[in-house]
């Protein structure tokens, strides 16, 4: 139970940047993005992704665009924006040394 709570809290803090990191590799449509995050155990279901995307879109970190998809309805892809990239860079600058320090501490405490 304690593990779940720690994981939930940590995920809450980094999920937005994880989405940015995934989109930095290239635009993705919603389900594709969700599947990737679920596979990485960063979200439990799509129900967590779309609300987050709504906020990130509102904050101009990502932007959607429709791409024709064969005979079906056009797909809705998400791409990272310039601002999103800046945010990701800033996060990486903080996260790298921080995680290194945390890892080192955890190693030392073993």
């Amino acid at each position: 139970m304690n593990d779940v709570r720690i994981a939930t809290n940590l995920r809450k803090g980094v999920l937005e940047y994880c989405v940015l990191a995934l989109l930095a590799r290239g635009e993705k449509y919603g389900l594709e993005l969700a599947d990737d995050l679920i596979a990485r155990e960063l979200i439990a279901s799509e129900g967590s992704l779309y609300p987050l995307l709504a906020r990130m879109r509102e904050n101009e970190l990502v932007e959607p665009r429709s791409v024709a998809s064969g005979a079906g309805r056009p797909r809705r892809y998400y791409a990272i924006t310039e601002r999103g990239t800046e945010q990701l860079t800033a996060f990486a600058q903080v996260w790298m040394p921080l995680s290194a320090q945390v890892n080192a501490l955890l190693e030392e405490s073993r």
Binding site: Y29, E46, L52, G72
Partner: protein, 470 residues
């Protein structure tokens, strides 16, 4: 209503089902507070998600299950976008405690202060009017002294002049009453002008009384007495009414149209009316210290009036007894007067015991006491003591008047002090109430403004309130 069936193309690229439409409709309904752009973007996301899910081979039900039911999903959306209706509503309903406490306290102080201010306003007006009324007591005392002297002169002037006695006390009294007190030379003879007219050192008793009543009436009629007890108001008005009656009595005395006894009775009524005033003012206040001073003032005044009444009667008794005239009941009247004076003296001293200080009505000593004792014992023919008795009695009057005047000054000072305090109390309570109500008004306005602002923002993202995304 027939449940529409899911329609899926054979290619599996398009899916529009009742489940999707119902889900979208429910979500749309629950996103009422969002801007149209925000809402449309979310609906586009869901729409695209259902397409992606269908293309991935998931059923609409599976897609819905992954998103969560519309209520949960929209709650997350609203939270992510900073719409926190519960928090906003709570913020709107729970204004800052400091403002509420200030408002409640200010209102409470304002209401209590307002009530006290209204109460103290009435007390202040009453205290002011009482102080003003007490301020007229000196004029009332002057009237009483003038009336008592006039009464004495009327009594003495009615006495017969013994043959060979010059100057006759009765004629002197008549002169003092009607014309004035003649100026006398070193030999005691009246000073006259070249034309033979007598020079008067002082106005007639009538003129002196008229001047005193005129001054008193002017002061009393100017008084504002609406907040005083009716009895006090009536008592003061009565003294002014007496002033209208006095000239008629004086005219009859000047024309010798009425016997002394009815005249003396009329003067007694006028004097009693004046003496009553401080007693009624004493009843008009709940201030015991002030009431005791007024009561003592009235009691000493009654004693002075009793002695001033006694003196001419003793003179009349001794004179008629000496002349061999039939007393005609004067001795009984004088004994009754002396007995009454003694009870007044006891009453005056009792009243004086209730006020600070150890002042007492001066004892009736010397010839004054001796003459009174002799009369009480039935000896009313001591003409040899009469002049000394009269001088002692007048001196006693003067000493008692000093005590009365001191009491009056203390009463006036205390009444003024009380009026000033009452006014200060009113100003303070009114000021506190005013400031408190002003504070209540300001905090009330602030509260209303905050509530309105909160109400306006209830439909906007909470991040606007917080300054950063929720």
């Amino acid at each position: 209503m027939t449940e529409p069936q899911a329609t899926t193309t054979t290619e599996g690229t398009t899916m529009t089902t009742y489940t999707e439409r119902a889900y979208l409709r429910d979500v749309r309904k629950r996103l009422g507070g969002l801007t149209p752009d925000q809402r449309d973007a979310v609906l586009d996301d869901i729409h695209a998600y259902f397409s992606d899910a269908a293309e991935a081979g998931r059923s609409p039900e599976q897609a819905v299950e992954s998103l969560g039911n519309p209520a949960q999903f929209t709650a997350r959306i609203r939270a992510e976008l900073g719409y926190e209706p519960w928090a906003v509503a709570a913020a709107r309903q729970r204004p800052p405690a400091g403002i509420v406490v200030t408002l409640v306290l200010a209102l409470a102080i304002g209401v209590v202060g307002g009530y006290l201010a209204v109460e103290s306003a009435g007390a202040a007006v009453q205290a002011r009017q009482l102080a003003d009324a007490v301020g007229t007591l000196e004029a009332q005392d002057d009237v009483m002294t003038a009336l008592a002297r006039e009464r004495e002169l009327v009594t003495v002037a009615s006495l017969p002049c013994p043959e060979g006695v010059t100057p006759c006390a009765a004629r002197q009294a008549e002169t003092a009453l009607l014309r004035g007190v003649p100026e006398v030379d070193e030999d005691g003879r009246p000073v006259t002008r070249k034309n033979g007219d007598v020079v008067y050192a002082a106005p007639s008793a009538f003129e002196q009384t008229a001047a005193a009543t005129e001054r008193r009436d002017e002061l009393v009629t100017r008084l504002e007495t609406s907040a005083l007890r009716e009895e006090a108001r009536v008592a003061m008005e009565q003294t002014v009414f007496d002033s209208e009656e006095l000239p008629r009595i004086q005219g009859q005395v000047a024309e010798r149209r009425i016997a002394p006894q009815p005249v003396v009775k009329a003067y007694n009524i006028f004097i009693d009316d004046v003496v009553t005033v401080p007693a009624e003012l004493a009843r008009a206040t709940d201030d015991h210290e002030l009431s005791d001073l007024l009561t003592a003032h009235q009691a000493v005044n009654e004693m002075i009036a009793a002695n001033a009444s006694e003196r001419p009667l003793v003179t009349m008794l001794v004179t008629t007894s000496t002349n061999g005239a039939t007393p005609g009941g004067e001795d009984t009247r004088v004994v009754g007067e002396i007995t009454y004076s003694n009870t007044r003296m006891e009453a005056a001293n009792t009243a004086l015991e209730r006020v600070p200080g150890d002042e007492r009505v001066p004892p009736m000593e010397g010839t004054l006491g001796t003459m009174r004792d002799l009369i009480l014992q039935g000896d009313s023919a001591r003409a040899d003591l009469l002049d000394t008795y009269t001088a002692d009695s007048v001196r006693w009057d003067e000493e008692a008047s000093l005590i009365r005047d001191d009491l009056r000054e203390r009463t006036v000072a205390l009444a003024e002090s009380r009026a000033t305090s009452a006014r200060a109390t009113f100003l303070i309570t009114a000021g506190v109430a005013g400031v408190a109500l002003l504070i209540a008004l300001v905090t009330g306005v602030v509260l209303v403004a905050r509530t309105r602002r909160g109400s306006t923002r209830a439909g906007q993202p909470a991040r606007d309130l917080a300054g950063s995304p929720a």
